[in-house]
Symmetry: C2
Subunit: 399 residues, 2 copies
């Protein structure tokens, strides 16, 4: 038995996406820059995909730049704005709970003489708008705030932050930009770049049933940014390198599938997630849900099994063929406690006992049942192995 | 009819490679950073591929870093060395005939206060070793010289340049590094990083029947370089971002296929190329072969049809389903004359009349016959359309 409940780490490639990709491996394998028919067919496929991605997020196709993934998209946005606008100011604002692609890039910029403000979040995982307002100075060139957090799924008030940015711009602060890492929100909640009011937005293929190795950055028309690397004049001179035609075609197809099946899929996932949480909280006393339970994407459940060790739960579940995670895949193996949960003010015990269960449209109610039954049994057994003073009164089971 | 003779621009993905990739789209689609079984299977596949790439170029697996393609590999090598060693010196040496990924990166570094020497080449397309020697100063931190040129296939004397580097190092010039863009030589001639004496070497998947969107940089053990972008600690902390598992598996498989079939494939390609050149020069008077006819990869034929326009030949061939190119795909559409042929001292007319025909193991003698017959006919017709003073004495045909 194999049950995959780690869809925030990566997802299976959809059958329709594989079917869309395959012709670009063998028949239409041309280089999209080539003048001949092989090249022109590849170019047409890339432009079709650009329209599909743009349509999903209400952008113009010319505002979509294809890159190798979410990390490159985040880096291109942040380093790109920093290098292009440093004459106007060398201050950036982000949050303490961003993905490593944002945090590590910001830290690298600090090494290069930029100043970065890392905003705190409340216990529910959400930034305070007054903190955003207070952090902005005339030297601020970029605010980068993720849309949905990758560990908890909590949503940030992007529209309200965009309003603050617009107020500043109305006062002449024209070099202030807003970027959002939307890797975890795309496909889960509506992402409309105009409604969100962002200048830059990152997305990744492999979180929405497209292949790994492809992503995109939305760059609002008129936004000036420096390139991350240099070479040919691909992607309107914003990202050099032979276009990853099959990957791009796959990303386009995945975006189309998201757009066409949006309501059906997301309500199904939300139902499954609610069912999961209902069953777990009913079965296990000492579990808590981390992050805001309302303002979050419908597919992630971040739970703390207080008094237990999330890593042990993960491994025990894995032995039964059930895949979940503690924190993000990108931070796995680092042994450091989750920077996200820590920033939310959770206790060491709550962080240690945390587990992320993340769903996709391919999961079933039966899989949830299996996982909850396994969790209940494993939690009980791990609890028995604890020294008595760590065990809470009576039992861990609600029933 | 479809005849693809533009294999230096990109290649068809081999059937064996597609078969190797497919399981990583659906069954084993895990994130290689995940702790659970899905993740561990993905990780094992990535490490198998790393061994396959390393085996082809006689490197250690730990010396291979997977990236998104040749452009990123070149940029990581050059910017990575420049940023890590700038305290020792801010001078780089390269050649006038490099790929845009190297040239544009070097130009970007010039904007950032580095000094770059662009070495000239002789009429045969090869750099002069004395020029290399003379260009080195104590401030030189990197020499980047391509292995095979992407337009002509001409090989540079890398081993001799490595000897010069080693002489300098023996004199205490320890911060001098040697990088080579081997994107066009891999799979065509033996590439042994130890024999070549390089510290860094770039390769790309889609030139050797692996998919687009994946490449690798060989980084000799002990070589210190800065990252190109920042995020998680993937690829031994040298390249962040979720590993492109299917792409990496495909690159590994393609490298294995190259290694196992090397002599058979390359002698077959060389035979086809020689046959092509023999037939063309026999059929058309005014054709010349550009670049050194001995020191070159076996699959590229760069020809000048003097008095004709290469772009017109390309388009006329394309209308008959035959794909060739003028210059590189990466520079296509730029309308600028080839920087490679110009650096070799070819006349404007010779550059304008140039055409690149590049073969793979999948081409056949029948395809070559078709292409030569078409070229002969097209060249004759274009010639008829020229004003009489541009037409050479008598005819363009040898027979």
């Amino acid at each position: 038995m194999q049950i995959y409940l780690d869809n925030s780490a990566t997802t299976v490639v959809a059958k329709e996406v594989i079917d869309a990709i395959l012709p670009y491996f063998s028949g239409d394998f041309g280089n999209a820059q080539s003048v001949h028919a092989f090249g022109q067919r590849a170019k047409a496929a890339v432009e079709d995909a650009r329209r599909q991605v743009a349509a999903l997020i209400n952008a113009a196709p010319a505002e979509i730049v294809f890159v190798s993934g979410g990390t490159e998209a985040d880096n291109l946005a942040i380093r790109g704005i920093a290098e292009a606008h440093q004459a106007k100011g060398r201050h950036l604002i982000t949050t303490k709970i961003e993905h490593p692609a944002v945090l590590a890039m910001c830290e690298a910029l600090e090494q290069r003489g930029f100043r970065v403000t890392y905003l705190p979040v409340a216990r529910n995982g959400i930034v305070n708008l007054q903190d955003v307002r207070d952090a902005i100075s005339d030297e601020t060139i970029l605010i980068s705030v993720m849309h949905a957090n990758n560990e908890t799924g909590t949503l940030q008030p992007l529209e309200e932050i965009a309003e603050i940015v617009n107020e500043r711009r109305a006062q002449g602060h024209l070099h202030l930009h807003l970027h959002s890492d939307a890797v975890q929100s795309i496909g889960k909640i509506p992402v409309d770049v105009k409604k969100l009011g962002v200048d830059l937005l990152s997305l990744s293929g492999h979180k929405i049933h497209a292949p790994k190795g492809v992503g995109a950055l939305f760059i609002k028309k008129g936004t000036r940014l420096e390139k991350l690397f240099y070479g040919g004049h691909h992607e309107r001179d914003k990202r050099p390198g032979t276009e990853n035609v099959p990957g791009i075609v796959g990303l386009g197809k995945a975006c189309e599938l998201v757009r066409l099946n949006f309501t059906k899929r997301t309500s199904r996932i939300r139902e499954l997630r609610d069912y999961l949480e209902q069953r777990i909280t009913a079965a296990i006393f000492t579990v808590q849900i981390n992050g805001d339970v309302e303002r979050r994407v419908p597919n992630i459940s971040n739970l703390s099994f207080v008094g237990l060790d999330g890593e042990s739960l993960l491994i025990a579940l894995d032995l039964r063929g059930i895949a979940v995670s503690t924190g993000s895949a990108c931070a796995s193996g680092s042994l450091e406690p989750s920077h996200v949960l820590t920033a939310m003010g959770l206790s060491r015990q709550e962080v240690r006992g945390s587990l992320r269960i993340s769903l996709s449209a391919y999961n079933t109610r039966q899989e949830i049942d299996c996982a909850v039954d396994a969790l209940r049994e494993i939690a009980g057994r791990l609890r028995e192995m604890l020294p008595t003073d760590e065990v809470e009164a009576s039992s861990v089971f609600s029933s």
